[in-house]
Symmetry: D2
Subunit: 311 residues, 4 copies
């Protein structure tokens, strides 16, 4: 399908359910997709950070895109991450996910190598020149250890290199600079500015964002779709109340913050435990080498679900 310009609404970064043997659990994945689509999301982002793309082998990545694209059948846009260290490797992923039917690719700044802004720009230009579908920049300094500057994003948008931004930087002031620039700079039309935050979606939309890509929307897509609707309807108080409910629910990502595991393991473990508890996926396993949640930690996830009215 044609990639919307701009893409608006809630676009969950779809978790990748795994079997106990750490293979992609396709039936669970498709149930999760149905759960999201049924809640009214406006697009799906597969192979992002919340999808554990960094932990999936190439064949697993392909399987995810093929399964999801085949399942939704063009009913809504599917964005696919092409997460790798540098241009040549990203281009191989672009070829793979677009062959599998992705409607857009989502690409971070180079990582592992130490990179200069000129090289980030070059990276996006080279990727866009070879990609058959639109390219969305993925600004995620916590993973790639580089912040992509708003001016660089806007320059590439004006040149038609980038079709959008998924901002997971946590820097709302920089995000606003992109939002405002995308609205006011000559030559930019239809550019999608999407926040990756779970916690400030209401205010991101209030300052002009097109949509949101919250990992927590796997667990409660109805909540984020409702939040988006309240914001669009101009109901600030209602939006704030819904956002605060979701902020409380998001507390689940900290259940593993007990010194035994990293932040990824705790957050993704909590999302998957919640999806299992809600009956959507079969197995809460996260990919290796992440440490799994304990039974007590899963119990705390359950309490967060109960507190948010989801059990």
């Amino acid at each position: 399908m044609t990639f919307p310009a701009p893409l608006t609404g809630v676009v969950p970064p779809v978790c990748t359910p795994l079997t106990p043997e750490r293979e992609v659990d396709v039936p669970s994945l498709l149930r999760l997709v149905d759960h999201l689509v049924g809640a009214g999301v406006s697009g799906l982002f597969v192979l992002g950070s919340s999808s554990e793309a960094a932990y999936l082998a190439d064949r697993q990545r392909r399987l995810v895109v093929e399964s999801v694209v085949g399942h939704v059948g063009g009913s809504l846009p599917v964005l696919a991450g092409a997460i790798d260290m540098t241009t040549p490797r990203v281009l191989d992923h672009v070829a793979s996910v677009t062959a599998a039917g992705a409607d857009a690719v989502v690409v971070t700044a180079p990582f592992y190598a130490r990179t200069h802004p000129a090289e980030i720009a070059r990276h996006y230009r080279l990727v866009a020149a070879r990609s058959p579908v639109p390219v969305v920049a993925y600004d995620i300094p916590v993973a790639v250890h580089t912040k992509v500057a708003p001016d660089l994003i806007l320059g590439l948008a004006a040149d038609g290199v980038l079709a959008g931004l998924k901002d997971s930087s946590g820097d709302l002031a920089g995000f606003r600079a992109v939002v405002t620039g995308a609205r006011t700079r000559p030559g930019i039309t239809g550019f999608s500015v999407l926040t990756g935050s779970e916690l400030v979606v209401d205010v991101a939309l209030a300052l002009g964002a097109d949509g949101a890509v919250p990992g927590l929307a796997n667990v409660d897509p109805h909540g984020y779709v409702r939040l988006h609707g309240l914001c669009r309807a101009g109901d600030g108080e209602g939006a704030r109340a819904e956002q605060e409910r979701l902020c409380a629910l998001f507390g689940m990502v900290g259940v593993g913050d007990t010194g035994r595991m990293g932040r990824n393991a705790s957050a993704l473990g909590a999302f998957k435990a919640a999806l299992k508890l809600r009956g959507i996926i079969d197995c809460p396993a996260t990919a290796e080498p992440q440490v799994p949640l304990s039974a007590d930690e899963v119990q705390r996830v359950e309490e967060f679900l109960a507190g948010a009215g989801l059990l």
Copy 2:
């Protein structure tokens, strides 16, 4: 061949010469290997950071290992990097490079994902359990943004998980802790402690390191082999003089530090320009999206070579 326990001497991280179209230039690669072997190095490390492994597609990585292993024919050990974000992806590279004949694999801590020490340990245990060849840890915080603690390394060494360490952390005190621990802790035998520094090889050897893996050894392998020999012979003054000559030569990595490019581009561009100037490789191109050196910057590389007596 059997991986030495420990591996000692100079083990250059072999640059990957590229054609102007950014394909692996196998004839140049093999000339470079001959240049290194002829200088008396004791092993070759392919697909490391200086090899631009982060920039090579999987098929290019395979081609490099096959070409080098086939060329040296077991005459010296070939270590191959299996550089990727997490365990499942690293395991695919391990399978690929060992199928191509690598004698050991070199593996970093997980990156992109935020990782806990327990997950780093789990990562190495899982990789070692599935690798048909010894696993060498690659501590390179500048790339992966995690430091692997000496105690963790030593614990894995004592358990037979790790066969060695390539330390590119710049933390000589931590390096010394591994050197001393590898000598004194019960259960550790034949563990190879290798410094990745270009600039303090003399003192690393003096405090007990087994060998060195300096990127600059691509440009001047004779110098590093001579330095290693002087250290082993106990000629501290001679070693220091040779090391200082090499430190001056290493200044070439800064020729691109003019605000136009990143540090990788400057350093790898300088090494490759030097190899071209010395007549060893055909084309100094670095992989995308690295910015190339200018003619003036190449001229400065030539001056560094001249200053070190290499032209």
Copy 3:
């Protein structure tokens, strides 16, 4: 005067005008205070980062507090920074600024020393136990290289140790956690949650902040007072437009981003150049060792003022 519980509205961090000899220019300082008070601000914060507190000798700090407190005569609250490395040194500043009449003290986490959350809590408890006036936490990781966690802030608020927070962390999600917690946690009443941002004041107020402490309010206090009023009146569109005008004006902080100076020098140099151009202070000098703006850079500040309708 009694410190408001909570303090609301616009509380500018007052710049410290200097003479060409880098002494405090008291007449200019008092003109600046009149400019701010006349615009309707609800408090004054002296000796903060925008006041160049880090650059002022102890006698200069005392002179600033005495001058401002004496001038405003209790008509609005004066908060004073007690910025130093650790508890014993901060306590000396607390004694000095409260002797000079400050109505509250603003205190960062310890810096220079590497500090643990337990030590940050201990620091605030010890300071509060000895301070005759309320203590406001100043969360400014860019300066002190530690983030004060929302839970730690809220725990100290519930215990009556802290009276408020000035958040200059740039982390709006964490800020929201404090805002929400201050409203909902048992035992917390009258706690002032203030954003230090210039760029997201509208949304910070929308999600429940009590007020703002924007450095740019030195240059355009009327703008920030107007913005606060629009937010309180529920005029989201009007607030957003005013905020976007102020965001554009804030671009002035980058005039010195040309590689010649640091970010503090550029931002504070721009604020002071603007105050000089607006006729409020006599001399735009910043403290040593900051590099001064060039004539061209001052010209660009003037263009920012013109663009915002301030000339």
Copy 4:
């Protein structure tokens, strides 16, 4: 006395013993000084990081310098830290410590404020212009979050601005660049290059350092003086053995690494516990807000002392 050019040998950063009420315990301080001088150190560095300078009020800092200078009576040089955020504040400390008799001042890069290399250079030039005694640069990125580049140090040395460097950066390659440059660059004479490391003193001296400023020398000054002598005598094996004994002893700094306190509290708590256990000081208290060691942790310090033959 005249400051040696260069200063060589062991120059301990003298701990500041405190009473239980956290006042300077002058009798204990002077016993510690006697302990150090008796072991053959060649200078004393007061008010450094190991002295808890960041935690001492101005009157306490003055008392330390006056007490130590008065006690040693010119028999060996006393260097004093002038640790503060920026030039104007550092200059006040320079005036104070030189009035109290310090023979040289030790000055870090500016901190708290975000600083540019040009501003670091300006800082040192302004301080040196106003200091009646030589200025030694203190490179300690872990505290000030800026690394002072070797070229900047060497340029200031050539201009007569700096008389020496105390390097606590942990970057031995950069340290070597200063050592080599100080020997070979025109215009530099008598510049003192001192390592702040406890763990690589042997190799720092081997590559040309003039001396060492190890915090652990408070606990075992005889060991470091012996190590320095072995290095100067060219006994590499003896030096390495002594250094390794000291490395093992240094393990004491980690006794508090149990999640309850910061690294400063653990390391300084261990040094002071050791000094108390060795009968040199009366009270092991560290300054506020550092968390004190537990009885168990002090017991482990004792085991480290026993292991190094110091009990």
